[in-house]
Each structure stands twice: as C-alpha cells, then as structure tokens.
C-alpha cells in the first residue's frame, strides 16, 4: 500500500517572510496546512533580567530594543509605568510631545508593516514607497533626539529634550506629504483584485475568539471590536483629541489591512491637533533624579502600533526594579497563528504572519 505522509516543513528561523527569526513547523497535506506550531525564542536576550539589574532610568534605552520598529511607544509604556509607580506628574508640554512621538511612531511602524506585508504577498513596490515616507519620520526623530531607530526619546518624567526650533514646521510638511502618499498605497493595493483575492477571507477570526485569544490592536479591531487603549484607558492628552477608531467587519486579513491604513490617517489627524495644542512649558518633571520607589506593583499600558503594550513593574524599595514584566502585544497576537492558518495554503501563512504584524524583538525579549 502507498504510505501517505504529511510533509513537515520548517518555515524559518531564516525565511524571508517570517519577519525575523520566527520558526513555524508546518505540517502540510499537499499545500494545505494541517498543523502549525510557532517556535520562538531565537532572539531571547533576557531583557527582563537586565531590567532587574539596572536603575529605573537606566532601563529606558533597553526598552527601545524590544519593539525596535516602535521604540517611542516602548519608551512611553515603560516611563508611564514608572511615573504611575512614583506618582510623577508629567508636564503638559511633555504630554503633547509624547503623543506626537507616539503617533509618528505609529505611522512609521505601520509603514514598515505595510511594506513587508505587501512584499510577502508579492507586491514589491509599496515597500519602497513606504520606506521613503518612513525616512521622513526617522529624520524627524533624528532631529528631535539624535537617533533614528532605537530612540530613547523619553525619560521618566518627560521627554528627552525640548523640540528643536523649526521642528513643528517640518512635521507639518511631513503631514502634507504623507496625506498624499497614502493614496499611492491605496491605489496600488486596496482595490487591486489580486490583493483582494489574497487577503479577503484569509485568517478569519470572530470577535469572541479574538478576545479569548487576548488579541489587541489592529488584529482585534479588524474583527469588529471597537477597543483601543487610547480610548478605553486614556492616558496623556488622548481624551482631548478627536480621532476615530476604525474597525473591520469580517476579521480577515483584508479588514486588518484596512484598519491599519485608516489608523495611519487618524494618526495624521491626531498630529494636526497636537500641533495646535502645543504650548510652551517644561518638558521634564521637576525633581526626578534618583528614583527609589517603595515596594509597590503597577501596570501601565499604552496603545502601541501592534496593540496593548504594558509594563508591569514591581518595586522593592531599592533604586532597581524587583521585576519588570512586559506585556508585548506581538507575543499574544502571534499565539493565534495556528488557529488562523489551519486549512489554508502555504501562501496564506505569510499573509497571516504579515497581518499580525509581529516583531520578534518584542516576542522573544
């Protein structure tokens, strides 16, 4: 008799579409996936252990290295947690600047996502257009804090520095350029029949399942759940800002794509409002020098581009945290991958990985 065997294939850790060093053990029946098991940890650097050996303010640059495509929101979540722990009041101007940085970072991160996602599905040109626009953002970051990727742009009690002269004008110019450039991406992808065929109905997850799997960010909103940390548990000046939370309808890859595209527009809208709200003032809280909190436990989360990014800090009365637990959105979102790809074809795996928008630096910590 013929012996029928499932083909077991190792996708990764070195594979063009796994966005880093993710490894997925796929079980294939022909090209159909009967089982998938993500294997992570290839980028594990023991960041949480390092956190325990450094001072509260010395940890901030380490948070850059978790989600290296969105360092500003990582900084924000950590600094916010420490401020909550110590009851530090952040000056008004610093809050506005933080929101500006967050939203710029959200656009930058979504641009990377869009470029790589489209590249996975075979459209190579959006990648370059996205990176062109992202380059403007990185230039803005560089001018603000001196680094492009691992920013260290915030510190406990405020932001790295005040905005340099002329920065706001450059930001306004970027918003103008960006609002036009988004239409290029839409023209290339949104209506394209191949793009639609590749994404509609792929990786569908219902809202109930999405909540049960703990999805946050665009994967959750793509399923139609209108939930965003910026609205649900507001922080900084988000309650004053007007923006919409885009939600999908079907919970498939295409809806998640549309959600992120709309989020970029909303971020640009927030940026415009923030420029109006910017007033002169301090950018760092006064008297934040040596941080030595009493034993306590706090959790603070922000809406990172990938979802809810939280820092859980336990202090023990010394100047070093007792335990810092990161709640990375990618780690939780990736978990759902086997459920999303089962029954689909190999080509859909890359589409689903792309739509989850994972960053292995954050997953493996």
């Amino acid at each position: 008799m013929l012996d029928i065997q499932e083909l077991e294939i190792n996708m990764g850790p070195q594979h063009p579409a796994t966005h880093g060093v993710l490894r997925i053990i796929l079980k294939l029946d022909g090209e159909k996936i009967v089982g998938a098991r993500p294997v992570i940890g290839y980028l594990h650097r023991g960041t949480e252990k390092i956190f325990e050996s450094q001072t509260y303010s010395g940890n901030v640059p380490h948070t850059d290295r978790l989600d290296y495509t969105a360092a500003a929101t990582s900084n924000h979540a950590y600094c916010g947690a420490v401020e909550k722990l110590l009851g530090i009041e952040v000056p008004r101007r610093a809050r506005v600047v933080r929101v500006i940085l967050d939203e710029l970072q959200r656009i930058a991160s979504h641009l990377i996502w869009l470029g790589t996602h489209a590249l996975d599905i075979g459209a190579m040109t959006p990648f370059f257009y996205n990176f062109r626009e992202r380059e403007y953002i990185l230039d803005l970051f560089e001018e603000f804090c001196g680094a492009r990727l691992t920013l260290h742009c915030m510190k406990v009690g405020g932001v790295y520095d005040d905005l340099p002269p002329g920065w706001i004008e450059k930001l306004q110019r970027f918003i103008e350029v960006f609002d036009k450039a988004v239409w290029d991406y839409e023209d290339l992808l949104t209506g394209n029949r191949i793009w639609k065929q590749r994404t509609i109905g792929v990786g569908v997850i219902s809202p109930e399942e999405a909540i049960d799997w703990g999805l946050t960010g665009p994967p959750l909103r793509g399923s139609g759940v209108k939930w965003d940390v910026r609205r649900a548990l507001p922080y900084e000046i988000y309650p004053e800002l007007e923006f919409d939370i885009p939600v999908g309808r079907n919970g498939d890859t295409y809806d998640r794509y549309l959600v992120r595209m709309e989020e970029m527009r909303q971020s640009s809208r927030i940026l415009k409002q923030c420029i109006q709200k910017l007033e002169p003032g301090d950018v760092v809280a006064k008297g934040v020098r040596v941080l030595r909190p009493k034993p306590a436990e706090v959790y603070f989360s922000v809406e990172a581009p990938k979802g809810e990014l939280g820092y859980h800090i336990l202090s023990d009365g010394t100047d070093k945290p007792h335990r810092v637990k990161v709640r990375p959105p990618c780690f939780v979102n990736l978990q759902v991958l086997p459920a999303l790809v089962k029954g689909h074809l190999v080509a859909d795996v890359v589409a689903v990985i792309g739509t989850l928008d994972i960053v292995l630096g954050e997953i493996d910590r």
Binding site: V60, H62, E135, E142, G146, H152, N192
Partner: protein
C-alpha cells in the same frame, strides 16, 4: 462580477501609480559621494574634554550596560584646591548603544562628555582594538575625524574645538 471589473480598472490604476514614479526624482542618496547633513542632536561618537571633567563617576554609574571604566585620584593644585584627576577613562564603544544617558547625567553639561559630534563613519576592521576607546582616543579621535574632513561643521562645533590643542591630557598618577 461588475462590468468595471472586466475593464481591469484596478490593475490599470496600479500600473499608472507605478509608472508615475518612473520619471520622478529619485529618493536615495549615493552615499560616499553625497552625504546627508547630520542634525545637531545626532548621537555620534564620544568626545571627551578631560580638562573640564570633574571625575564624579556619574556617567560610569549611569551607563545602562556598564561599558564606561573610570579611575580617578585626588590631587591638590598649586593654589591649594583639591580636585580629582582622571587617570583612566575607557569606553567600550563596540558594546555602546548610544543612548546618551552618560551625556545627560554629566554635571558639566555639554563640555565634558558629549555625543553630539555628528560623526558616524567609524567602521573598523579590528573590532577588538579599533572600537575600544581609551582616554587619549576619546579626547582626540573626533577632532582628528573632523580635521580629516575639513574641520568641524559650524552647527556642531563644541566651544573648545577652535584650538585643536585645547585638550592636553593631565598626567596620570604613575607619571606624576
């Protein structure tokens, strides 16, 4: 299936979008020939001014990855003032992540240890030796870097950089 779909409008729109960019100005910069201007706050290589260093060890203690190694000793100046003299100031650049914390905790702000030197072309073949900076290299390397490139750019020039011999290293403990 709508009639519009049969006309391949979506595909033609994509083709138009790409060809639109064909004659446009290119975005990339041809690196060795052209270089982008570095903003003032760019965190580049360290520059040390030993003369103004207080020897307070703040940067060493603040470094999140413990790559600054310092040794200081006390000395009395001829005027009878006590001061600290830095014998050793080593930075293990190859492990540095250029977070700028050492610069921001420095009490002698902007004069002693600065990262805002705008220099970034520090590639080396020997990572073990070329990327370990001791006191002498930290003091002179950035000045030499800019001297080889026609002098400091105006917006980056530190106040003491006008005179290239401004930083004369104080004697080490064993020399004295």
């Amino acid at each position: 299936m709508k009639f519009k779909d049969l006309l391949l409008v979506d595909l033609l729109l994509g083709l138009w979008t790409t060809i639109k960019h064909f004659p446009r100005k290119k975005f990339t910069v041809q690196y060795p020939e052209k270089k982008l201007a570095v903003p003032q706050r760019f965190r580049g290589m360290f520059r040390l001014n030993v003369n103004t260093c207080l020897g307070c060890l703040m940067c060493q203690n603040a470094c999140p990855i413990d790559i600054i190694h310092m040794e200081v000793h006390d000395e009395t100046t001829p005027e009878g003032k006590k001061r600290k003299v830095v014998d050793r100031f080593d930075i293990d650049i190859k492990r540095c992540m250029f977070c700028g914390i050492c610069e921001s905790v420095c009490p002698n702000k902007g004069k002693m240890l600065t990262l805002r030197t705008g220099s970034y072309e520090w590639a080396a073949y020997e990572r073990d030796h070329a990327l370990y900076f001791d006191r002498e290299r930290l003091t002179h390397a950035v000045d030499e870097y800019w001297a080889a490139r026609g002098g400091w750019p105006e917006h980056l020039r530190p106040p003491d950089a006008a005179d290239p011999c401004a930083c004369i290293l104080p004697p080490k403990k064993e020399d004295a």
